[in-house]
Symmetry: C2
Subunit: 491 residues, 2 copies
């Protein structure tokens, strides 16, 4: 067979790289840390974008576009934001190339130096709040509910395709509100949208909660997060929504007049997900045969492969295949009929298995005689011969079953890898041997959080939002704890 | 009334700026030459994107994503490409910021200088062909039909919102083929797609043809273009499709084995349209009252405004408005019901006129009594009172009429401003006094083309592709000419 991949057990990290590579999702580029998202990978990202964009619009948001570049001085305006973001950035210093004295080599034109350097956006709060100042005078101008789809650059030293790249694609929502309550409501609404997307589209169960002070977004008062568990027992932060208070409004002097004529600073939120979700999708569901994609996000949900020896057989098979394709398309199912004669059926089977097409149909001469076809599920790798009668209904049901099955499998995995631990030795052992989500008591101090991180590489992924949290004693210091928090090693 | 704009006659250029500004389409940002595309402007761009993306997919293309940055050395690889593009570029030289000695100011970290500078992409042929080298070995890997939606940076010195900005959004198709014929066919297919889009969606008539050597894309063998006429008599290049021959394949050493086992360089095309189309859309149709958007690209096609004095009246009006809204939505028409009580009906009328909503409905207490409503067309500014009976069919028809009417008006304008000229004095007079498209004979030399440009500011917009061109004498040199070409002053 064509392509082989390393098994998860042998080398999980290599398994991930193999899938990204061999399922044609992405590859490294000649620019350090920047990836090429290949057509198959991009088509999954497009499906994600489409669903999320619809969700954003259904919750009242519109899209806009802000500049790629941010003047260097903007980063100094919000004190904690500068700490977090004015570090590993791509800096534009010149605006012209020229040829050297010999006219042979292209060099940077020294006479074309910018007065103020420009930073390729690592996030857009500063430039957006600078812009909002011009948009907001009165309560009539609020709320502003804007989202941007954009590319982002953070000069990461250690990069991995999708999971951590110097350039990545994302969306960033930036909203402005008249009241604190409204901004908080928006913050929570958007983390709920992300959780809904993760669970009902990506088939990936997530935990929802808030970040600790140490893990919070630079410039935020409160950060909500969703966290998913990968198959190696590590957590992956899959979306965040930030309540920014009046921090950016103060930094950029954005005030509004309320209905009573009083002047006040505007309240803000921001929220985002990125191509990192592609990494989460891959690691949540795939197996040692390649990619597994939930049907709702699969660019091609069903592929039909003809099996034949003589061209005459192909005509009859093709007629039947087109008939089935039409029936499926009428149900809104995405179908590809692959009758290329440049590749064998075996090559095609392994190709679509690698790329994660949820259902594969095969039709041969015997199927034509018997009015049957062979159907293979990507998730369970089960095959069966079914009647052509009612095939569209059957497939529609199967796709729903697969979507549900993939979610339940991931949920079962998370449950099997979730621990309630009260003993620090046990905690350390779980972290070093098994991984997973560990619910444990914490005294609420950054000091303890840091010590645990140093000793176990585990961080507090989130503080659950619970109505009646159960108090206890910190697993590390023994001091009082208000509630259990969720620890894990993370991507 | 709220907003006023300069008339076209008084100052065309200011009229354009006023519309962009007051219809909330875009604004300048603190970064020189980079624009903020505001929600209303972006929503029109999104409609354009959606239609074009569908057209690309229907012609067999898939999307992918390539890095924002291109290593400086890549530009030297294709000789004519470097001439055209390695000039006014944003150059990334460093990858880190730090604080100065006092810890007060943010400065560029001198220790974080890149070994090789990175250029923010001014177009992506080089990095894409570098990538294609890894994707192509045999004829089985061809054709590659890939498109990218991306942001682009060209450090323009004189910028205008949408028409010429340092950063802009675009799509760039990059295809690879086994034969010259197939690549040429693709080049022509895509200029046809652009012409179809311009005429049938933007309601903007275009001329189609090829560029002269002087006006051709840097690195192309042949460039096809579509050109539209703006209301000030200037042409606007609205889309280009390039046959790149084997130039980039040779520059990046991309060869393939054909079915007979022979090794040859791959054939290439590239094609693109950008947010410049927003400028074309604005200037093709708008009037002294604001923006006019063809219904097929209008984010909101119909707005309903309630007219009332007492809240009790509003209830009845709202019930009727929602009923009509539902009927329209069932026909796939985009409707907004604006019942905000923070703005007056007069303010709303002028707002939607400025923003180019094709149809405005107003419903007052008398309409409720008479089962009528007032309907106002944005394109002709005509108002009429119509019966509520059959309103959805009526509006559906009206939207189609408006789409057609806008196109025909623009076509009429172009016909009235098209000249066939054989005398150079007349040519000069038309160019300086009226503008428009001038069909004239040209001797085919770059020298003549340049002289005419110097003396009249007119360029050859295109060489029409005609089966039996009519020969003649060059309007400038009197030398033999194979056919008339189209001159105009251009954006």
């Amino acid at each position: 067979m064509a392509k082989e991949i390393t098994s998860r057990q042998e080398n999980y990290s290599q398994w991930y790289n193999d899938i990204v590579n061999k399922a044609d999702l992405a590859e490294n580029s000649p620019v350090r840390g920047c990836m090429v998202i290949k057509p198959h990978g991009y088509s999954i990202w497009e499906k994600m974008q489409g669903v999320l964009d619809r969700m954003f619009k259904d919750t009242g948001h519109t899209n806009a576009y802000f500049p790629l570049f941010i003047p260097k001085s903007f980063f100094s305006k919000e004190a904690s934001h500068v700490e977090g973001f004015a570090k590993e950035c791509a800096v534009v210093t010149h605006y012209r190339l020229t040829t050297d004295e010999d006219g042979k080599e292209i060099i940077v034109d020294k006479n074309a130096r910018l007065d103020e350097e420009l930073i390729v956006r690592p996030t857009s709060e500063t430039i957006i709040w600078h812009t909002y100042k011009g948009w907001i005078q009165s309560y009539r101008d609020l709320p502003i509910l804007v989202n941007q789809w954009a590319n982002i650059v953070r000069w990461e030293m250690r990069t991995r395709l999708f999971l951590r790249t110097a350039e990545f694609l994302w969306q960033e929502g930036h909203t402005a509100h008249a009241t604190k309550e409204e901004a908080l409501e928006e913050t929570r609404r958007m983390i709920d949208v992300y959780a809904d997307f993760a669970e009902n589209w990506m088939a990936m169960p997530v935990l929802k909660g808030t970040k600790t002070d140490a893990e919070r977004f630079a410039g935020a008062i409160q950060t909500y997060t969703i966290e998913a568990l990968m198959q190696d027992g590590k957590a992956l932060q899959s979306g965040t929504s930030h309540f920014l208070g009046q921090n950016f409004a103060k930094a950029f002097d954005v005030k509004f007049t309320d209905q009573s004529g009083t002047l006040d600073y505007v309240w803000a939120t921001s929220w985002g997900v990125s191509t990192r979700l592609m990494g989460a999708l891959i690691m949540a569901h795939s197996d040692d045969n390649g990619l597994v994609v939930p049907p709702k996000l699969a660019p091609t949900q069903v592929v039909i492969v003809p099996i034949y020896k003589k061209d005459a057989q192909l005509d009859e098979i093709s007629a039947k295949a087109h008939e089935i394709k039409d029936q499926l398309q009428q149900k809104g199912i995405t179908v590809k009929y692959d009758d290329r004669d440049t590749q064998t059926p075996g090559w095609k089977f392994s190709e679509y298995e690698m790329k994660g097409v949820p259902l594969r149909l095969a039709i041969g001469p015997r199927d034509i005689q018997n009015a049957t076809l062979e159907i293979a599920r990507r998730d369970t790798l089960e095959k069966e011969i079914i009647s052509q009668e009612g095939v569209a209904d059957h497939i529609e049901q199967l796709l729903a079953d697969i979507q549900k099955g993939i979610y339940e499998k991931a949920l079962r995995f998370r449950e099997e890898n979730t621990y309630y631990v009260d003993d620090y030795e046990e905690f350390k052992q779980i972290m070093s041997e098994k991984g997973g989500f560990v619910w444990a008591h914490w005294d609420g101090t950054e000091e303890t959080e840091l010590k645990i991180k140093e000793e176990t590489k585990a961080t507090i992924r989130l503080v659950p939002v619970e109505e009646n949290p159960e108090p206890g004693k910190c697993i590390y210091s023994g001091k009082p704890s208000k509630q259990r928090v969720v620890f894990a090693r993370a991507y």
